[in-house]
Symmetry: C2
Subunit: 480 residues, 2 copies
């Protein structure tokens, strides 16, 4: 049954809660073509904040942005065997342009490795041209059968990094560095405690020799792959002839990587922190960090209260915060409280005639519901307290999500316990199985190997499935 | 004949100068599909600076960013009669998705008025939902026959603003406001003295009732339409049923606008300011505002000079400037000077052992070639002088481009003089002709009516072409 926010509880129907919330919180809407998505201003502002937080990290690690065409000749996609196998079934194909049938159909990019490979082969001649470290902010198209806003849409927005290096070591270091960037971003900007790890062969990117991932646990215990970083070895270099003359004037193949994070991550934010009242946005990424709600009855109060509300907005903005005053005069304060709770604004400031008189304001934090999250502070101490609160909310969200994940992760040593564990979260196991074992487990339990965590306890155990001696721990879970 | 930069002179072959410069300056490259463009990091950084300079202006005038799908059902495009006529011949069409033929083919957006119209009709119910003022940063596709990097490519990057209003007055004010934003941006960020004006009916956007434009003059005297702002009247509102209940509970059609500026503007920057040595970038948009070239012979000098160069970079960056030190050790200073001149960096700092001794550095400004543009300044006064120089370069570029435009604009009163005028620039005329007259003039002279400038002298004259009494001045020119 829906609550006053128009949401069912997460416990009742997590899927329904999510779908309704995305629409009601004005994050996104369905596009007219099946499976497409309109990202509304509130959702796009969140994405812009994600972009900013990633973009400076990319630039600080020596990457530059560029733009590549969305149209890729079909023949390019066929050059790397496993790549075409992975992406061919999902392509959108342009067959006509300018009123005429094209001699070669064009794919709308599902990802840009092939056009990058073709281009890098032209750009790279000598070791002096290396490394090339580019990042693209764009959208890509994958013709998915089942779609869900943010998580899986025909077109989605992302960044894709593409680098080429002279040595395997350098490319491997890049692959790992970018996973570390994503891990840092997820924890310190989105308050999401991800598990960095390596994908098994089954789950690797089409054409990669190694895929690293950050895996997050959603509020229903399911896993969400939140970003990936791929070491391609020389697969694309050989397919596209990306070669360089080394210092000894010998021709060598390059080593390439790619890495990406998409608007899917918005889904991760919603499902990690959201509660039955709606979104709970991490303060560093929230489009609005502070909502100011003026409270008044008579018209003569109105002017004074609005003036005070605007002064608060100005002062908080001058301190670098994103602030909005809700001046709508056809809605009650109570209605506004609900709406901004639904939209997950981290801190609410309430100000009314009595506050003016007492030189105080009322603060409410989104992550602690009800009276417990409210406090009256002196007007002069407002900025400092809001800054403290935003930091405290970030820490609390991260802590809470970590506790949730850990309490829904069970170390198991037999298949029975495994099946129970993946019903409600992650199973942590010693693992020495094969790709076929993985597939069987997936068929039987719908759980997949999410990753082999980078952080390993060391030592040795017994594989929960095969009974063979195992040297590594794996995380299994049902995934989005 | 190509100079040391590998460029022919602009006087010799402006077109060849442009095409070579775009490639040599590392702004862009050709994509593998005919007519597509790869924007390289240096070009994309320029576009990012353009985006930043526009984006805050859009937000300051109450607009929000959002994202709409690139795929538009073909049937949408057919709903507004003149719109489909304008865009149908240029469409790229997706006919297959996920391995199957689609029941309805999809256009890759050539512009988003139709999908916006469809969506606004769903979003708008009451006058309280108005105005809606959105902006999209994306790429669009138009299947052009003849292409040229930045100026006309199958896919290009732009922003498209789309607004819906309750009254015609408000929509007209929006249309004009956004033209003013573009005019301000062009002058104060890009140092391009554009002429704001209205397009004639012939040159209007497909579906608009009024199109406003900013027109710039390129270094060869030709016109470049640099941004446009359209008043749609109720055309799209009627085609897509965008209606609202007014305060009296009566159903009304909305009034809509759209406005855009694209990567074409990079072409305008190149062709307005560039000289025979290469790009001359306006300081406020230049990806690198200051290039520091260290000069040394012996290894023991190297360390000291590089250290000083990096300290200069740090100090300038701390003052908010975009600075790079060219540390490449396989190239001579002379080679580097040429390369950064080609790339149009506004200010060069040279520092060598003698400068260290004298506590000075050498500055060179890109807009004044040779010795005249060089000066030695004290190390302690460097930051202040660089800031002065950047402002002076902006002013000089704007002044120079204004003088060039004015000296290539001739007020003419007969067709003979008109034909001479449009050979080398703009013709400024009294105008009372019809659409048919315009077409005839275009056939005979290749010149089109660029705009009716918003700023009019008033009074009355005689139309240069029809001999009829005329109350308005028009600008004609050959255009890109």
């Amino acid at each position: 049954m829906a609550n006053q926010q128009g949401l069912v509880s997460r416990a009742e129907d997590f899927n329904e809660w999510y779908n309704t919330l995305v629409l009601k919180a004005d994050l996104a809407d369905y596009g007219p073509v099946r499976g497409t998505m309109i990202i509304k201003p509130y959702g796009w502002a969140l994405w812009e904040n994600i972009q900013r937080a990633l973009d400076w990290r990319f630039k600080a690690t020596g990457h530059e942005n560029a733009a590549f065409p969305m149209f890729i000749p079909m023949s390019f996609l066929e050059k790397e065997a496993s790549h075409v196998k992975g992406f061919a079934p999902e392509l959108a194909v342009v067959t006509h342009g300018g009123g005429e049938e094209l001699t070669e159909p064009l794919a709308v990019r599902p990802t840009s490795e092939t056009i990058i490979g073709h281009t890098y082969a032209r750009w790279i001649q000598s070791y002096r041209d290396l490394p090339i470290k580019l990042n693209l902010w764009n959208s890509v198209v994958r013709w998915e059968k089942r779609t869900k806003l943010f998580l899986r849409t025909l077109e989605f927005y992302w960044q894709e990094g593409h680098t080429a290096h002279a040595t395997a070591e350098e490319a491997l270091a890049e692959t790992r560095q970018m996973l570390d960037v994503y891990t840092d971003f997820a924890r310190n900007e989105a308050a999401i405690p991800v598990i960095p790890g390596e994908k098994s062969e089954n789950e690797r990117f089409a054409g990669a020799e190694m895929t690293l991932t950050i895996e997050a646990m959603m509020g229903d215990g399911r896993a969400l792959q939140s970003a990936t970083s791929h070491f391609m070895g020389q697969n694309f270099a050989r397919a596209f002839e990306i070669r360089y003359l080394d210092a000894n004037n010998e021709l060598q193949y390059c080593w390439t990587t790619s890495w990406g994070l998409s608007t899917r991550f918005i889904g991760a934010i919603i499902m990690t922190h959201g509660d039955d009242q709606g979104l709970v946005l991490p303060p560093k990424l929230a489009p609005i960090q502070v909502i100011v709600v003026p409270i008044f009855r008579q018209e003569e109060e109105r002017t004074r209260v609005l003036e005070a509300a605007r002064a608060i907005q100005q002062e908080l903005q001058d301190n670098g915060l994103r602030v909005k005053v809700d001046e709508r005069d056809n809605l009650t304060p109570g209605f506004k409280f609900n709406e901004w709770e639904l939209k997950g604004v981290p801190v609410r400031v309430e100000i009314g005639p009595r506050d003016l008189q007492n030189e105080t304001v009322m603060l409410a934090r989104r992550d602690v519901p009800g009276r417990e999250g409210k406090e009256s502070v002196s007007r002069s101490g407002l900025v400092a307290r809001v800054q403290e609160l935003l930091a405290a909310i970030h820490d609390n969200l991260l802590e809470r999500a970590t506790q949730f994940r850990d309490s829904h992760t069970v170390a198991v040593s037999d298949y029975g316990a495994f099946k129970e564990a993946v019903e409600q979260g992650f199973a942590r196991v010693w693992w020495a199985g094969s790709s076929e074992d993985e597939k069987r487990i997936q068929e039987e339990t719908r759980a997949t190997l999410r990753c082999i965590p980078l952080e390993q306890p060391g030592g040795e155990g017994t594989c929960f499935y095969t009974g063979r001696p195992a040297t590594q721990i794996a995380i299994f879970g049902r995934s989005y």
